[in-house]
Amino acid sequence: MYSVEVRGLTQSFGAHRVLDGMDFTVEAGQYAVVLGQSGCGKTTLLKTMAGLYEPDSGSVLIGGKDVTHTEARERRLGFFFQNYSLFPHMTVRENVGYSLAVAGKGKREVDTAVEEYLRMVGLSSWADHYPRELSGGMQQRTALARTLATGYKVMLLDEPLSALDAKIASLLRRELYFLSKRLGLTIIHVTPRQDEALDMAEKVILMRDGRVVQEGSDVDVYTRPEAMYSAYFLGESNFIRARRRGARAAEHHGIVFGTLQDIRWDDCILAVRPEKILFAGPGKNTLGGTVESVSFLGPTTRYEIRTPGGVIVAETSKMEGLKKGDSVTLRLPEEDISVFDAAEAEGLEAQVI
């Protein structure tokens, strides 16, 4: 098993800097998800790591060995293309066996391996079909089998589930994860979808404008966002503009909220996840409002509460029995409040009240 390290990777196309000093580490055998909006440089990151693009600066280490100047085909990295890139003029069998054929393996050896990987992805009976004859899900499996058949231990997956409908995608998500564990692979999976990151990642690498915003376990990044962008992009947050009123206190519309975190900025933003907000009586860290809308989501119910500063969203699994127009008091537990510099809100489309 191999670890993967990316150090200060920079990549520009003309005047446009796509990767701006990417830094992260993925442990051997870890399933890492690089999460970021479309256009943030995810595909460029993978292609530069793979050696398809030459970086301006920085380095890529596989299993501790610097491969920055090694040719793409000699890096032994499996690459899964977003649109699958199945060779249209080859059958499923020929696609899956391609890496073995070009490695000079004998026909029998290639055939045996192809059978094995097709069985693994459940496509044994489709070996002699062409890619165009397969459904989207089957093409995805073929591409997966083709990548796995290389026998490489590090896989770069470029939005492997994006072209599939939601139901199949969530099914294949599980399969992909367990397959990677069974084969002992190190995975770097890029996606713009936070549900994939939360479901599959042992490590989340949150990316924005060619840089790493935060890396860590999914729980860490979700519960302890280090940047407003983390709170905004992974999951949902209420953002409340406030002014500093002490080392661990800030004021919003005449109400002072206490935090556990030190506040270093005069203008700051408090972030609270909707499911952390409690319905409670008057007391510390509370504010009053009226229920504006109620949506029943199945396991939880979502309330939009009109407060003096704006609308706050709260989500709870308890049946509160509230109706539109009811007056409520909300409590924002101090341990669940993250504090950010107000300047971080610039350029984000987040609702700030």
């Binding site: 003029h89 391609y98 000079g104 026909k107």
Partner: protein, 520 residues
Amino acid sequence: MRYRKSRLDAICLASVIVFAAVIFLPPVYVLSYATRAFQAINAESIAALEHSFAIAFIVTIVNTLLGLPAAWVIARRKTLPHRLLIDTLLDMPLVVPTSVLGLSVYYFWGGGLGSLLGVSGGLVGKGPILIALLHIVFTFPYIVRSIEAAIRQIDISHEEAATMLGASPLTVYRTISLPLFKAGLISGAILVFTRSLSETGATMMVAGLYSTAPTLVVAYKKTQDLESAAAVSVILIVSAALLLIMAKLFSAKARVPVVRVWPGMERLLSRRYVPHRDAALALAVLAVILLPTFHIVSSGAGSVGASNIALLLSDREIINGIIVSFMLGVAVTGVNLALAIPVSLVISKNMFRIGTLVDAMNDVILLVPTSALGLSLSLYWQPFHLNEFLVLALAHLSFTFPLMVKPLAAAVGAVDTNLEDAARTLGARQTTVFRTVLYPLVKPAITAGVIMTFMRSLSETGATLSVSENIKTIPVLLVERFTAGRVGDETILACILLFAISFAFILAIKRMGRAKDVLG
């Protein structure tokens, strides 16, 4: 609404009928001589046919070998220095009249190069080798453009995928790229083969006593041996058609062996020869294509002078030739454009369910060698006793029409029909839809078609030689003067003038839309 639609239908139907009667039938009329033709076949005809096929075959092989890497470099090497200039230069043989090219190639191989290397006399004299060298020059752009267009359509991630699966560059090229642009390669090779098979005027210049099938048709026509001329024409058309059908079948069936063929050797080759390969390619293209093409400009530059310009202006024959050629070009382009718009609608929208048929009819016209076409046309129109200029114009209408209609039909077909539907739901009438939606979107194709039609009409010799007796277009005049040994400074000057016009047109093509749209 209903009224307008039916009027459009009527216009289209009428255009197709005119197309069939005036453009399509005349060139293939000679086929009705098929039964009589077989009795008129003689040893001379068979030898000429053999020459033509052998030359076309060799030219196709050479240009495939040269065109494959050249197209690859043009399509893929983004960092190529002077890329745009090279791109433009490569298109020159496509638009410079073949008779001018004939002169240039003859002087290059027959004199210029020899004196450069210190060999007295020329390296290559008139005959089959010079014919092949000439054909290599003017067919080269066809294969390069055709392959290049196909390469540009390849999704580059297929090649990246192969690289990530461990394939060396040469293996990627052979197993992924080549199969994906195979169709472009084959259609390019067919264009080269059929163009070589049918070229007449310039071939007459460099053939000497050697005859190819098209030059023999002209010779028979001159001596009024119409039976023999028809025999050669029929065989030329039929065998070219058979070849085309075979090539189409072959291209559908052929599969490049993909699995496990010398990956080790290819890895080695990929590494070692890259710099040598690029240098050799550049040298070969320069020596075989570019220098022969431009030789007449560089060597004839000395003849540009006040006295020679006065000489040229006082040469009534040449001045008349230029005027006739331009009049013909303008007339033919105008008529073809008017006819091509409705016919391209029929093809692209498969109206009356004959779109595919009409498209195939255009392919057939392209296939007919122009000297055979000229002969066929004079046989077809003979009973009508038409004026010579009219017959000449009709001949030019026939062989240029596909150049106009094919890119137009492709462009119309590529327009998303939802756009037209959207305009209609917004209240636009049929004619308004055409004017405001379709026309702006297909304008580049129209411009390209107009330029190609005009240039082809301006430079054609084979058909023109076969149908005209008294009227001489400028390329025909060049052929005549050259074969009669009457090439003076004023003639060279006329060539340079034609070269300059061609260059202006190619620049116009580059501005409006790429030449590959026309070829594709």
